[in-house]
């Protein structure tokens, strides 16, 4: 029999009440992990005291891996096996990568998502990202000396379904429990403490290493409502580096032919760019093809040769304001995020456009991770009284292919998520028994101009006259911005359902295989891992149920309460056993046995929201 635990008077009743939750900014050039400690969000440093982890993974011939600074140092030495800016490849095919001919990698073309050939064989961008995430997970676990409850991972607001799904898969592969994917600009808004101090409309201008995001948010009493979001998922500081590298080499009359030379030129340009943020002019020097290139760059020159890049961001800002039906003078403040906003020309362009000085008082590199940590802390239930609520939107419209390669839009962009939309379709031939559905994402009218997310077939439609069948297709987008599609023939009831995952060619079985590959798979390891996970899940369910009973136990009859308590005892009894399957089964039973109770609680919550309002209006 399990011993009853009794806590010391005055202490929290449950010693495990505080759950360790982190926020992770998985960035193009660097990544960070942050957590709320003693009520304050802070970035966690590595053993050397550095909070930034360069998003670079180097695969070594002997099977080892270098992640972060070591890998970054090897970029010029071993460019083909040192993968940088992998975020640009997430959920992307070879043809989607702009400027790929200037990159030193050996791409492998696959439908949906490309692969990268390394000394350790082919690596998916998901695996490379997972290596970065796992490094941050270990850092957090070492810091706290405990397992993580979960993580909030940030993605650019403009990421489409394939890119979000790839990010979530990478987190899973790194052994993280993903509490939520949140958009980087939203995270930045949270970190700025806009929740307590400010009300009104704010613009978040986020120029990172490889992506540009602009989001317009309205803040009211702890609610962060995203009004519109836009940007360019292939525009960032890297482009400024490349523009500068190209220009300097053209001026010096040299050409970078080898991967090494290309990498060296870009590293030199980046150093020069960073210097220019603080100085009027800077030297750019690099050794290309045995030749020493040395060139002085003046700020105005750099500004001029990147003016079109800067202008592209401002154009996206104008468009997003129009989407939000707002004038720029209705914006109360502008928050700058991302290391690239350190460039003076960017700050000036944004200030000129909005007619106000942007906010830059938080470190632009850290602000996203800090905001994610605050949200993670709340989602883990550590801040029960907190009333932070994010109401985000879907960044790109979702639609389906109809006759003639046209897109029928089903969920328009900038609609608040979660959302579900249904649309009826019919057959166009007599006796047609199957229907192919092609789901796309994008704003253009032609399928060819949008991103293909998935194709699937609804089979077994009973033969009917053309136009007689009624096929209802439902798109459901969850709070992470991830899509599920289901289709049902209304007359016969034939149903099909897909997660939009297979679109880029990573199924659950492939992820399972990657998991096995990455955790150098002694069978015992896998078992231990499964056991630990089962216990964590069980604990989570027990805590949640107890909290629900404490809050709303009065909704239950004595008999229902006793049934739930019996199921809880079953989980507690199974927990110490060395059998993951048993623990999972008991947890499942508890989850199922509390469904009706959960429904009652939800109704009470809704009634409460209405009642409070009615009294206020009376």
């Amino acid at each position: 029999m399990a011993l009853l635990q009794i806590s010391e008077p005055g202490q929290t009743t449950n010693p495990h009440q505080r759950r360790i939750a982190v926020g992770i900014d998985l960035g193009t050039t660097h990544s960070l992990v942050a957590s709320v400690r003693h009520g304050v969000a802070e970035c966690l440093p590595d053993a050397q005291g550095r909070v930034i982890l360069p998003s670079v993974v180097r695969y070594l011939k002997d099977g080892g891996r270098q992640i972060g600074f070591e890998a970054q140092a090897a970029l010029a030495l071993d460019p083909e096996n040192s993968i940088a800016s992998v975020k640009r490849f997430m959920g992307r095919g070879v043809n989607d990568v702009v400027g790929r001919e200037k990159l030193p990698y050996r791409f492998v073309d696959h439908p949906g998502m490309l692969g990268l050939e390394t000394v350790q064989g082919e690596k998916s961008p998901v695996e490379v990202s997972a290596d970065i995430l796992a490094t941050l997970r270990y850092r957090a676990e070492d810091t706290f000396g405990d397992d993580l409850f979960g993580a909030v991972i940030t993605v650019p607001a403009y990421f489409d379904d394939a890119q979000r799904q790839a990010t979530k898969d990478a987190a899973k592969l790194a052994g993280l429990n993903v509490l939520r994917l949140i958009n980087e600009p939203t995270a930045a808004a949270i970190a700025y403490g806009l929740d307590n101090a400010s009300e009104g409309v704010y613009a978040i201008y986020d120029l990172g290493g490889g992506t540009f995001d602009i989001s317009i948010l309205r803040l009211t009493k702890g609610v962060f409502e995203v009004l519109a979001t836009g940007g360019d998922s292939a525009l960032g500081g890297d482009d400024y580096d490349r523009a500068l590298a190209d220009w300097v080499m053209a001026q010096a009359g040299v050409r970078a032919k080898t991967p090494q030379d290309k990498a060296i030129a870009i590293i030199a340009a980046r150093a020069c760019k960073e210097e220019l943020s603080a100085a009027h002019c800077a030297e750019c020097h690099a050794c290309i093809g045995g030749e020493n290139v040395q060139f002085e760059v003046v700020n105005q020159q750099f500004e001029k040769l990147t003016a079109d890049l800067t202008q592209r961001t401002i154009q996206a800002v104008r468009k997003t304001l129009r989407d939000a039906h707002l004038d720029k003078d209705e914006v109360k403040g502008v928050v700058m995020v991302g290391g690239s906003t350190r460039m003076p020309q960017i700050q000036r362009a944004v200030a000129d456009f909005f007619g106000r000085t942007p906010l830059t008082n938080l470190n632009p590199d850290e602000v996203v991770a800090l905001g994610a940590a605050i949200q993670a802390n709340q989602l883990a239930g550590n801040n029960a009284g907190g009333d932070l609520l994010l109401l985000d939107v879907i960044p790109l419209s979702l639609g389906i292919e109809t006759m003639g390669g046209l897109v029928e839009r089903i969920v328009p962009r900038n609609e608040t998520i979660p959302t579900a939309k249904a649309q009826d379709f019919t057959t166009y031939q007599d006796g047609q028994t199957a229907l192919a559905l092609h789901v796309v994402q994008g704003e253009r009218d032609l399928v060819a101009d949008c991103r293909s997310l998935a194709r699937f077939e609804l089979r077994g439609i009973p033969p009917m006259a053309a136009g007689a069948a009624r096929i209802r297709v439902t798109f459901t987008v969850d709070a992470d911005g991830l899509l599920t599609v289901s289709a049902k023939e209304q007359v016969s009831g034939v149903e099909t359902r897909i997660d939009v995952k297979p679109s880029y060619g990573l199924g659950d079985d492939q992820i399972a295989k990657m998991l096995q590959d990455s955790f150098t798979t002694a069978d015992a390891d896998m078992k231990t891992r499964a056991l630990v996970e089962a216990r964590v899940d069980g604990d989570r369910m027990l805590l949640a149920t107890q909290a629900a009973l404490d809050a709303d136990g009065d909704l239950l009859t004595d008999a229902s309460r006793a049934r739930i308590e019996a199921l809880m005892v079953a989980v507690r009894t199974a927990r110490p056993l060395e059998d993951a399957v048993l623990i999972e089964a008991a947890t499942q039973a508890l989850a199922k046995g509390t469904e009706a109770f959960a429904a009652m609680r939800m109704n009470r919550g809704i009634q409460k929201a209405l009642a409070g309002k009615n009294i206020a209006t009376v």
């Binding site: 129009r322 109401l391 949640a544 809704i606 929201a609």
Partner: protein, 177 residues
């Protein structure tokens, strides 16, 4: 109160066309505070699923209630006068003439000022139709007449989108110069 309640019940509002947008927004946020899946992140899959259903339902109602056109169409539907936009496109000749005039003006527009002017006319037309909607729906309870106005509004809004698309285009070209 359940997932099948109509939008007005769900938001605790009187089922009529005239509404206070700020009140709808505030109610929406209050409801999401209770039902959003994030409030149940640590409470297991069943609670998450349920929260998702409620949250989706609340957003669906919000989309319909906050938009005057959708709200008017919904009220017609609730009162057994469906708009049936796809099967019934017959409009009064006078209305169609005006649409044609507008289309010609849009084709002929060559400056931002032209487009802004057209945009202003369209906005005025929208205001007039919304006013009629309110009369038919709230004062006269004449839902057949209201359906006519909703259809007219659909035409006008489609035209408005085209005007905005041209504005977007012209904006980008002028930027590029």
């Amino acid at each position: 109160m359940n997932l099948q309640s109509d939008d007005f019940e769900l938001f605790g509002l009187t089922p009529q066309f005239a509404q206070d947008r700020a009140a709808i927004d505030a109610r929406w946020k209050d409801l999401q505070r209770e039902a959003h899946p994030d409030k149940f992140a640590a409470q297991g899959a069943a609670a998450q699923r349920l929260a998702m259903q409620w949250s989706v339902r609340i957003n669906e109602a919000y989309q319909r209630l906050k938009d005057p056109l959708k709200r008017a169409a919904y009220l017609c539907e609730l009162n057994a006068a469906p708009v049936n936009a796809e099967n019934n496109t017959a409009m009064p000749a006078e209305f169609l003439m005006q649409q044609m005039d507008w289309r010609e003006a849009l084709d002929a527009a060559s400056s931002l000022a032209d487009l802004d002017d057209l945009d202003l006319q369209v906005k005025q037309a929208v205001r007039n139709v919304l006013h009629k909607c309110e009369q038919f729906l709230d004062q006269q309870q004449d839902y057949q007449q209201a359906v006519q106005q909703v259809r007219a509004l659909m035409f006008i809004e489609r035209f408005e989108r085209d005007v905005h698309a041209r504005l977007d285009q012209m904006d980008i070209t002028e930027q590029g110069q």
